[in-house]
Symmetry: D2
Subunit: 223 residues, 4 copies
């Protein structure tokens, strides 16, 4: 597990973070992470895991795994392949890649078998609590209305973070909560951490920034 507070950056399938661009962004994060002693990880496309692991000293996550074992699953993402490529964890059930309930259970078990961190994304308090019963490493609550938008979760719906923290603790006291959408700047980061989470998940804000370094430095400025 990363030193917390920590930031997980999901680069999705943006051009700005595909192929060599993913490596460049990971290298930038490595530099800022080390200079500031702040935990960071990058979640890249399956195709890009190997290169990021080879060239950068930063924890790399997969963006997804499928609930499969080795065999006849052409084109799906085998947890063993993600591990073999050098990832240390994976997102599961991201809002852009939802899974059926039974498969979330299987994916978390598969990460436990392989020693991968599991970061399960959820959309509200109720689904966060349900997922917590499976004991993943982390849960990132991301209200759909805040994903990719300009509104800060800590402004729009501060209750969702603290309510999620409380609801999750009624069924599982060890799972870590991430604030997973609507974190826009260093001020949001500080507020989010006050509400309970000590991890944050970010995406488009950093990836699409002209000056990625400035945005990253701003985000961690209050930690």
């Amino acid at each position: 597990m990363l030193k917390t507070p920590a930031i997980v950056l999901n680069v999705k399938t943006y051009t700005e973070a595909t192929g060599i661009n993913a490596v460049d962004l990971a290298r930038l994060m490595e530099k800022i992470s080390k200079e500031n002693d702040v935990g960071m990880a990058i979640a890249v496309q399956a195709c890009d895991i190997t290169r990021c692991v080879q060239e950068v000293d930063l924890p790399v996550y997969a963006q997804h795994i499928d609930p499969i074992k080795p065999g006849s699953s052409t084109g799906w993402t085998l947890p063993e392949a993600v591990k073999s490529a050098g990832a240390v964890g994976t997102l599961i059930n991201h809002s852009e890649h939802r899974l059926i309930l039974a498969d979330i259970d299987i994916c978390i078990i598969r990460t436990q078998e392989l020693g991968l961190d599991s970061l399960v994304c959820t959309n509200n308090v109720a689904t966060s609590k349900a997922v917590a019963t499976f004991s993943p490493s982390m849960i990132a609550v991301e209200p759909p209305e805040l994903i990719g938008g300009d509104i800060s979760v800590t402004t729009a719906d501060p209750g969702i973070v603290s309510t999620t923290v409380k609801a999750v603790q009624t069924v599982n006291k060890t799972v870590k909560i991430l604030c997973g959408a609507g974190v826009k700047n260093g001020n949001d980061v500080v507020k989010a951490i006050e509400l309970g989470p000590n991890w944050l998940q970010l995406a488009s804000r950093v990836v699409k920034a002209k000056n990625k370094e400035a945005v990253l430095r701003d985000l961690i400025s209050g930690i």
Copy 2:
């Protein structure tokens, strides 16, 4: 495009072809391909494309692409990422990873935009003809009852190959037909090529063999 007749080996998500094992198998294919001057390509998991391309001089295909453009598609397979990792083509609509009709259309267009070969898998004569109207590079017809089994397509249902060749030609004369299931040995390869296709798609027979080299050499013995 590869020199034909050619063999495309889809290694699925077998342990025997994940991570370093994928690289080893690709290296073996490279050797046999060069020694015998027979066209070969390997279709590996997304996580393994980079390493195979880095270490082996053999055309690498992806096993799947998703019908997406760069952006918010966490965990899906971006055609640009596959290209960037060094793949020269991709399977589309494999029997273990079917796509809706409109998405097959989009995937083929995306491969054309990026200069990737498109190898679309189909399950019978009717769907092969339908796909041919989209003008992919290749169509691999794989009757579901023959996939992964012990029966040769050229024994069980020789008509499907020649009928598919004829049906496809009524709508598209340039698309190449692959014999995509039930090819078990060198004799099957010879018969399949007589029936029209000059490409073959293979999977478990090679990947799960104790002596992969012997199986590969047998397969190309009659070419």
Copy 3:
């Protein structure tokens, strides 16, 4: 088959056409259809087929069937059940309910086995041509950008209708083409029919109208 030109009204899952409202709308269409000697059919939710068939003398279509045979398919739509409830046809592959390619093939075969009309929805010229190779009864081409909007297909993209008609005829001369989106008023109907189709598919324009009767009468005014 209906007397043409004909109008197929897909009522989707609008409140205005659920339960008793579906029956009322079917009854209104029956009246206008008979008074004006214009062919009409209504595509209702599976739950509503029985009541519409029992109470109204108008051809009823299902909005969807699944590619299944009787057996273990809890909660899916069995073609036999649709037939048994009294439907005379079904939409297939609607833009809100897409199917994988192999399943479109199976659904069309199942309708042929049961004597149901098959109306397959497509999104562009290329997919219309692909579907035509399966010989469904009808194809409704519906460019996604026109569905549910305020723009008439005959204004926005008149070429798509005539181009689709021509492309489909290169592979299948018997399938009927429907103009499936962007038909807003009687003028659009007249123009659409000039472009080739003699069937039209409609949805929200009628269902959500305050005065459904006026909208229906306007639509057929030019026929």
Copy 4:
């Protein structure tokens, strides 16, 4: 809610329970239910709800609802339509019709809004506990290896029922547990009820029996 112990019969899409056959089976259940004062309900295909409700005095369930509100969802199952047809409840997340986690949450909320019973199917102890956090009316635990087979759950894996009951109660004390697979005869029913559940879910055993009445009478013989 039904008088318990009660039996919910899911007739799937079997020919023996499609159309008029569904009505006949419901009528048989009505007779046996009343004669023996045992709670019973039938879960039929969407197309068959209306007729069963019209002709038989037995609680009717839908086999599935989709996580939608009225609008543009062609061919999907609107909860309001199920309610309007006369169903009093619905299965959710059946093993043959799985839903993503967020959609299970939505479906349960939709049944609560409409006053429908919600019977959520799960595959093991862990997913049962997760679902219990959503407070559905009932959870039917059905280990996949027992569905449709010849083995009794109470013989094969008696622990799963009592363990599920206990696990669910740690997060929700009001949800009812159903024994949902592997109940074959009256003896199984008695044992299952001893293990905690007071509802049972059945399918192929009854539907495919030559003498459905004899099987039904045997099942309730020990209650």
